[in-house]
């Protein structure tokens, strides 16, 4: 049946049809829906792992055991999983293993713009890159055959515009693969030097075999049109080029982006007058062409920064790009904001009020960096708030210990914050870590995690007790506060910063968008009492504005959290029970 499907959903469908049996992933935009969609198939075991390294090792274990497996992550997740990645390249697989990674050119939801193709090259693994949903489905499916044929994990590279675009696909039935009997193969799977030395030449030979395969494989194709211009591209870049030039030029459309073919590229180059590589991010195909001694253009025309579009391609290659009109007024930006009723708001307000230096982390609460709260000093990667705080305090000593904290979400703390806290306890810094426990993985769209008590399917599961975990590490001061209660937050922050030992504050209240959360009625403004002092505006709540000199509450947004009430000295913000 033909239907519209999101790239991520189509990839999930392809993995399912190929008989994938075990899935372990960590959520990360734009990759999350691949695993969410897989979790809806009963034949597939699926889970959210605490982080990408764990996920990849689970997927490896399942492949080693004889089941086709998958792990999915965003580009920066690959950094976390890089350790197993490089060595399972040596061991190869038993049943097929596919690693899904989604890049984010343009940084719609990411902290950097790294190009995951470098990992395929560095770890010497084949990488497939689909250009629409139909290819997402087919490449995901064929990735398993490739994996088993060449005894290697296969990376499926997606990007935001492929993951989050819908196009038409055709589904077919799932094929089951019976579990083979377990067979011990020490020299293949125990990567100590003696055995690893035997595996490395196998990896090098595999790359040679894959290059030969790339010369004539179903993933790469030549589409001859006019020969004045020949374009080499993959993924979305191919689609943008096709949009601009149609059949008027020739294309070498690459689906297997590592390793790259040699003869195929040379013969294509020989057929066209001008050879141009169009690729988002880094010049990987272009550099490969140069190594082959070809005259090629690429990054002299196209940026290695941001996303492309049809206009980017048109402008770079001498076509007139589309142009529109605009009004003269400046259009104010509309940045994302913390939702009305967000439990992070009260905590960040308190940090700002106390002029605390804040090492931040990755999640919705990174929005605490935005005005008017602006209560954040750094954000690097998952977990860096906690370990960064330890380093900051070691460097500045007492000067910073009494006025610096780390803030990290519940899911991020499980991902890699806990190891930083172990460092704080072990190497003894007087650091204060605030865990923002909103009982869900928020930013990626509400995924369960080890602290929520539910698994990926929403069924009851093991629940990690954050307080007990912190105490067992050796943190003696662990306290829980309600971020809707500003006085309680203020007291806890002041006290924990003052003590001369490590401490953890758990700021606990479920995300205001969770369906089970019951809200109070919206607040109202008593116009008699409001003096228009704008104190309530200091928390940056999207439900509050000042109209005609007094506060106004948008009753479609307000969830009655009452944080603004605590800032009003005149009792002008009134709530109903």
């Amino acid at each position: 049946m033909k239907k519209l499907m999101l790239g991520n959903e189509a990839a999930a469908r392809g993995l399912y049809e190929a008989g994938c049996g075990v899935v372990s992933s960590y959520p990360g935009t734009p990759s999350t829906e691949v695993t969410e969609c897989l979790s809806k198939y009963d034949e597939v075991y699926s889970e959210w792992a605490p982080n990408e390294k764990v996920a990849m090792e689970v997927a490896f274990g399942a492949s080693f055991a004889g089941k086709r497996s998958f792990c999915g992550m965003k580009h920066v997740g690959m950094n976390v999983a890089a350790d197993p990645l490089f060595t399972i390249s040596y061991t190869g697989v038993n049943a097929g293993m596919v690693i899904g990674v989604a890049d984010d050119p343009g940084m719609h939801s990411s902290q950097n713009e790294q190009d995951s193709r470098h990992y395929a090259i560095a770890a010497k693994l084949p990488m497939l890159e689909p250009a629409d949903s139909s290819e997402c489905l087919n490449f995901a499916k064929q990735a398993y055959d490739l994996s088993e044929k060449f005894d290697t994990p296969v990376i499926l590279r997606l990007c935001t515009r492929i993951s989050h675009s819908q196009s038409i696909i055709e589904t077919s039935d799932r094929v089951e693969h019976p579990l083979p009997p377990y067979e011990k193969k020490a020299s293949k799977y125990i990567m100590m030097p003696g055995y690893a030395k035997l595996r490395h030449p196998i990896v090098e030979q595999r790359t040679k075999d894959l290059i030969a395969f790339a010369e004539d494989c179903p993933f790469n194709r030549v589409e001859m049109g006019g020969t004045e211009l020949g374009i080499i591209a993959s993924g979305t870049a191919y689609q943008y080029a096709r949009e601009v030039f149609g059949d008027s030029v020739s294309y070498l459309k690459l689906g297997l982006v590592n390793p790259l073919p040699e003869e195929l590229i040379k013969s294509f180059a020989a057929k066209v007058d001008r050879l141009v590589v169009i690729e988002e991010l880094d010049p990987i195909i272009e550099d490969h062409c140069r190594k082959l001694g070809l005259k090629v253009e690429g990054k002299n025309l196209f940026s290695c920064i941001g996303e492309f579009s049809q206009n980017t391609v048109a402008a770079a290659l001498g076509r007139e790009p589309g142009k529109g009109v605009k009004i003269e007024d400046a259009i104010p930006p509309r940045p994302p904001v913390m939702c009305a009723g967000c439990p992070h708001r009260g905590l960040f307000y308190t940090l700002k009020k106390n002029k605390v230096i804040v090492l931040g982390d990755i999640g919705c609460y990174t929005l605490g960096a935005v005005a008017p709260l602006a209560a954040m000093d750094s954000t690097i990667c998952m977990g860096a708030s906690v370990s960064g705080l330890h380093g900051f305090n070691k460097a500045r000593g007492e000067d910073s210990e009494g006025r610096t904290v780390a803030v990290i979400g519940d899911s991020t703390f499980m991902h890699s914050g806990v190891t930083g806290l172990i460092d704080i306890a072990y190497n003894e810094s007087n650091s204060t870590v605030i865990i923002l426990d909103n009982s869900i993985t928020g930013m990626t769209g509400h995924q369960q995690n080890p602290t929520t008590g539910y698994n990926i399917k929403g069924d009851p599961a093991g629940k990690i007790d954050l307080e007990a975990l912190c105490r067992s590490i050796g943190i003696n001061r662990v306290r829980v506060v309600d971020p809707y209660n500003l006085a309680e937050c203020d007291k806890a922050i002041k006290e924990e910063l003052a003590v001369k030992e490590p401490s953890v504050i758990i700021s606990r209240r479920p995300c205001a968008l969770l369906k089970y959360v019951k809200h109070k009625p919206p607040l109202t403004v008593n116009a008699e009492k409001c003096r228009g002092c704008k104190s309530c505006m200091r928390i940056g709540c999207p439900a509050i504005s000042i109209v005609d000199g007094i506060a106004k509450i948008d009753n479609t947004l307000c969830v009655g959290c009452g944080v603004c009430q605590q800032l009003c000295a005149f009792g002008a913000l009134e709530g109903k029970e």
Binding site: S165, S167, Q310, G322, G324, V325, I327, P333, P335, C339
Partner: protein, 190 residues
């Protein structure tokens, strides 16, 4: 046929994903090649959101670029103005007159421009501005604003009313079907 370009713009949380789902379903039912491009994640938290819908015999790029949109469907006036440069010459903007202040306006760092409908019209754009939110409330819920908007949009396409209603039935949970049908009818008739 030449590929047609539609943009659906608004503020994160206003329901543009259902609008694009409805449009996508209708166009697939009508036998077109279709691509729909959304952005999830960070930009959804009350930020400016845009969804691209493209259809025709064969669609390549999943996105609409500057100067290409045949239609811009907008949930909010400022967002219509923000994306105006993407409108094709002689293209049409169908926008709700709802105004949602972005944070820089709330904090006083920026001003919400006045008289946006006339200013957009002055650039030569065809602008159909109406209060979709009131129609949704009249139908029974402000959440149906997306379908009220699509009712208005349907007047500019040659697809039959039955075609639209079939797509709505396929996209909306049965519990909310009557409400949405009513919102669609109100949008289409006014």
């Amino acid at each position: 046929m030449e590929t047609k370009n539609i943009m659906i713009v608004g503020v994160g949380g206003q329901g543009s994903l259902l609008a694009s789902k409805l449009l996508g379903r209708l166009l697939v039912n009508e036998g077109y090649d279709v691509k729909v491009s959304e952005v999830h994640g960070m930009s959804q938290r009350g930020g400016s959101v845009v969804t691209y819908v493209r259809y025709g015999d064969k669609v390549c790029s999943p996105v609409v670029d500057e100067g290409e949109a045949d239609f811009i469907i907008s949930f909010e006036l400022l967002e219509a103005a923000r994306w105006l440069p993407f409108l094709k010459k002689d293209g049409r903007i169908i926008t709700s007159t709802q105004q949602v202040d972005p944070m820089p306006v709330i904090t006083g760092a920026a001003v919400y421009p006045e008289d946006l409908v006339n200013k957009m019209q002055a650039t030569g754009a065809n602008v159909d501005a109406f209060d979709a939110l009131s129609l949704a409330q009249e139908a029974g819920s402000s959440k149906a604003v997306n379908i009220a908007l699509m009712g208005r949009v349907s007047k500019y396409f040659d697809f039959s009313e039955e075609t639209w209603l079939k797509a709505i039935e396929e996209c909306v949970p049965p519990k909310f079907l009557e409400l949405n049908k009513k919102a669609f009818a109100l949008g289409r008739s006014k």
